[in-house]
C-alpha cells in the first residue's frame, strides 16, 4: 500500500518536472548578425533532444526570426554591446529569475567555456561541460582524459546547466520561426571592459564546422610553407588547421589550433600534414570520418590512426596532391 503511494508520488513529481521543462540557449556571438553561428545551431539541435518543452534563444542583439530554427519559441534580446562573461552571466541570472528554465545550454566553444561556469555559479549550480551525447534530460556523456575515456554522467541539479560540443550534434535546420522577440533588461557591469579584438579574417570555411580540414604541424618548418596547405585546402574547399607545435612556433595564429585544448573538429576529411599525432592533437580530430596522414616518418603515431597513411616528403606529396585533384 505505502509503496504504491510512494510510486504514484514519484510519477506525479516526474510528470510535473516534464511539464515545466523549458530550455534557454546562450547563443554564440555571431560575426554576421544575419545568421546564427554554426555552434549555436548545434546547441539548438542538442536542446531538442532534452525534452519537448519550449526553447528560448538569448542573444545580445536583435535577429530576424526567419533565420532562426522553428523550434525556437522566444528570442531574448539583451541589447548589450559586449560578450564579456560578466555581462552574459548577469543576463542568464536575470533570464532564469524571470522564466525559471529547467535547462540552460551553451555551445562548448571558448566563448561558452568562458561564460557558462560563471553563469552556473550565479545560479549556485554545478554545470556539465563539453557534452557529446544526450541520453535523457538529466543524463549525458562527456569525454575526460583528452577523450581517452568517456563518462556517462547524471545531473542531480534542479536546473541543468550544460555546454555541448558542436561537432557531436547536427546543426538545426534554419526553417524560420514565429518566435516573439522580447527585450531582457540587463544592468551594465563594470568589472571588465572590452578593449579590442584581433580576429583572423579568412574566406575559407570556419575550422570548427568545415567538411574538409587540411592541417599542418612542426613538419611544415615555417609559416610561409603553410601556403602549400592553403592551396590544397582551396582546391578541396576546406579549412586550414594546425597542431599546437605549429602555433607555438609562430607558424600560424592560435585560432587554427586543433587539439585537446584547442578546437575539436570532426570533418568528413582530415588531412594531417607533418603532424606527429600526439594524444593531445588526436583528441581534437579523432572523430573525423576519414583521416589521411602525410608524414615522412613511418613511426609517427598519426600513421597508426590514419585511414590512409602516405609515408612521403610532404614538400613533394602535397603539391602533387593539389595538382592532381
Amino acid at each position: 500500500m505505502l509503496s504504491t503511494i510512494a510510486r504514484r508520488g514519484r510519477l506525479l513529481s516526474t510528470s510535473i518536472s516534464i511539464r515545466c521543462a523549458s530550455t534557454l540557449i546562450i547563443a554564440e556571438p555571431a560575426s554576421d548578425v544575419s545568421a546564427l553561428a554554426p555552434s549555436t545551431l548545434a546547441a539548438i539541435s542538442a536542446a531538442q533532444k532534452l525534452h519537448s518543452g519550449p526553447i528560448t534563444l538569448m542573444l545580445n542583439t536583435s535577429i530576424d526570426p526567419s533565420v532562426v530554427p522553428s523550434s525556437i519559441s522566444t528570442i531574448l534580446n539583451t541589447n548589450q554591446s559586449d560578450s564579456l562573461a560578466e555581462t552574459i552571466a548577469a543576463a542568464v541570472k536575470k533570464a532564469q529569475e524571470t522564466y525559471s528554465f529547467s535547462h540552460i545550454v551553451a555551445p562548448a566553444t571558448k566563448f561558452g567555456s568562458n561564460v557558462l561556469p560563471r553563469a552556473a555559479a550565479a545560479l549556485n549550480c554545478s554545470p556539465i561541460t563539453d557534452i557529446i551525447d544526450i541520453l535523457s534530460e538529466d543524463t549525458f556523456v562527456r569525454p575526460i582524459y583528452a577523450g581517452s575515456a568517456l563518462a556517462k554522467v547524471q545531473s542531480t541539479e534542479v536546473v541543468k546547466v550544460l555546454s555541448v560540443r558542436s561537432t557531436a550534434f547536427d546543426q538545426a535546420e534554419v526553417d524560420g520561426s514565429s518566435a516573439t522577440v522580447v527585450d531582457l533588461d540587463v544592468e551594465k557591469q563594470i568589472l571588465t571592459e572590452f578593449v579590442k579584438a584581433n580576429v583572423s579574417k579568412s574566406d575559407r570555411p570556419e575550422l570548427s564546422s568545415a567538411n574538409i580540414v587540411v592541417s599542418g604541424g612542426r613538419g611544415m618548418k615555417n609559416g610561409e610553407n603553410f601556403h602549400l596547405l592553403e592551396a590544397l585546402a582551396d582546391k578541396l574547399g576546406g579549412a586550414v588547421g594546425a597542431s599546437r607545435a605549429a602555433v607555438d612556433a609562430g607558424y600560424v595564429p592560435n585560432d587554427l589550433q586543433v587539439g585537446q585544448t584547442g578546437k575539436v573538429v570532426a570533418p568528413d576529411l582530415y588531412i594531417a600534414v607533418g603532424i606527429s599525432g600526439a594524444i593531445q592533437h588526436l583528441s581534437g580530430m579523432k572523430d573525423s570520418k576519414t583521416i589521411v596522414a602525410i608524414n615522412s616518418d613511418a613511426e609517427a603515431p598519426i600513421m597508426q590512426v590514419a585511414d590512409y597513411a602516405l609515408c612521403q616528403d610532404l614538400f613533394k606529396a602535397v603539391p602533387e596532391l593539389t595538382e592532381k585533384l
Binding site: F111, S126, I144, N198
Partner: protein
C-alpha cells in the same frame, strides 16, 4: 599584491591511460603538476620578480591526497612562497570531487584563511577532467572580474590589461581594479625548470594542511558519474604508396572527394 595560485596533481600528459571498471586506472601511473597550473605558477613568479607589481607573497593551493604535497613542493621550488594543501581522498579527476566544489573550497580559503588575495591564477583546464570550470566559477562566486585563456598579462594602473585567446583569434580585456581571477593558456609563458638549490630551499618553505571537510563546503558530487568506458576504436587504416593511390581511395573508397 598577494597572489593565490591553484596547482593540481594530475596524470602526466605523456601517459596513455587505461580505462577500468571504476574509471581510469591510476595505480602506479606517473602523476605530475598539471601543465596549465605550471604556467600559472610561472606567471605568478614572474610577477613577483617584476618590481612594478609589488608582490608581497605567492601562495600555492592544491586539493587532493597527501601526494599533493609533492606538487606543492614543485610550485615552491619554482618560486612560490608558501603552500596550502586541502586534503581529501576523493578522486579529483571528475569522478568524485568536481570543479564546483573545488571553486567553493578556493572561495573559503580566500574568505577565511588568506583574506587579502588580489589575484588568483589558475590553469585554464586540468588535463584529466578537461572541465576548465574552476577559474570562471570562482570568479562568479567571488563576484570578481575574470579573464580566461590569458596569453598575455600586463599591469595597468590599479588593474590589468589581459590579452586572451578566443575562437577567432585574440581579444584584449581591461580589468580596471583588482582583485581578479585569471586562467592561463598555453602561450602565456614558458615555465622554468626548478634548479637544485631552489628545490632544496623549497623543502623549508611552509605548507599548511587542512581537511576538505573543515570548510563546510558540500563535497557531495552533484553530477554522478554512472559509468566510464573507452570510446569506440577506429577501424585500422592502410599505407598508400603514392598520391595517385591516395586520390583513388579518397574518391572511390571513402567517397569524401569528387
Amino acid at each position: 599584491m598577494k597572489i593565490l595560485v591553484g596547482v593540481k596533481r594530475v596524470v602526466d600528459y605523456a601517459v596513455k591511460v587505461r580505462v577500468g571498471a571504476d574509471g581510469v586506472n591510476l595505480k602506479n601511473v606517473k602523476m605530475s603538476l598539471n601543465p596549465f597550473c605550471e604556467i600559472a605558477v610561472e606567471e605568478a613568479v614572474k610577477l613577483k620578480e617584476n618590481k612594478a607589481a609589488n608582490v608581497s607573497e605567492v601562495v600555492a593551493l592544491s586539493v587532493g591526497p597527501k601526494q599533493c604535497q609533492e606538487t606543492l613542493r614543485t610550485a615552491l621550488a619554482m618560486g612560490c612562497d608558501r603552500g596550502i594543501h586541502i586534503s581529501t581522498d576523493l578522486r579529483t579527476d571528475y569522478m568524485e570531487l568536481q570543479s564546483d566544489a573545488v571553486a567553493k573550497l578556493f572561495q573559503k580559503v580566500i574568505e577565511e584563511k588568506e583574506k587579502d588575495i588580489h589575484l588568483v591564477l589558475v590553469g585554464k583546464q586540468a588535463i584529466d577532467s578537461d572541465c576548465g570550470q574552476v577559474g570562471p566559477a570562482l570568479a562568479g562566486y567571488m563576484s570578481w572580474p575574470q579573464c580566461t585563456f590569458a596569453s598575455k598579462v600586463d599591469l595597468d594602473g590599479d588593474g590589468l590589461l589581459v590579452e586572451r585567446e578566443t575562437d577567432s583569434g585574440t581579444e584584449t580585456i581591461k580589468v580596471p581594479k583588482l582583485p581578479a581571477v585569471v586562467t592561463c593558456d598555453l602561450r602565456l609563458n614558458t615555465p622554468r625548470y626548478a634548479t637544485l638549490p631552489n628545490i632544496m630551499k623549497a623543502k623549508k618553505k611552509k605548507v599548511d594542511t587542512y581537511k576538505a571537510e573543515e570548510f563546510g563546503v558540500d563535497l557531495e558530487v552533484k553530477n554522478k558519474v554512472l559509468e566510464v568506458y573507452e570510446p569506440p576504436s577506429r577501424k585500422e587504416g592502410i599505407l598508400v604508396d603514392d598520391v595517385d593511390t591516395l586520390i583513388d581511395k579518397l574518391r572511390n573508397e571513402a567517397s569524401v572527394i569528387q
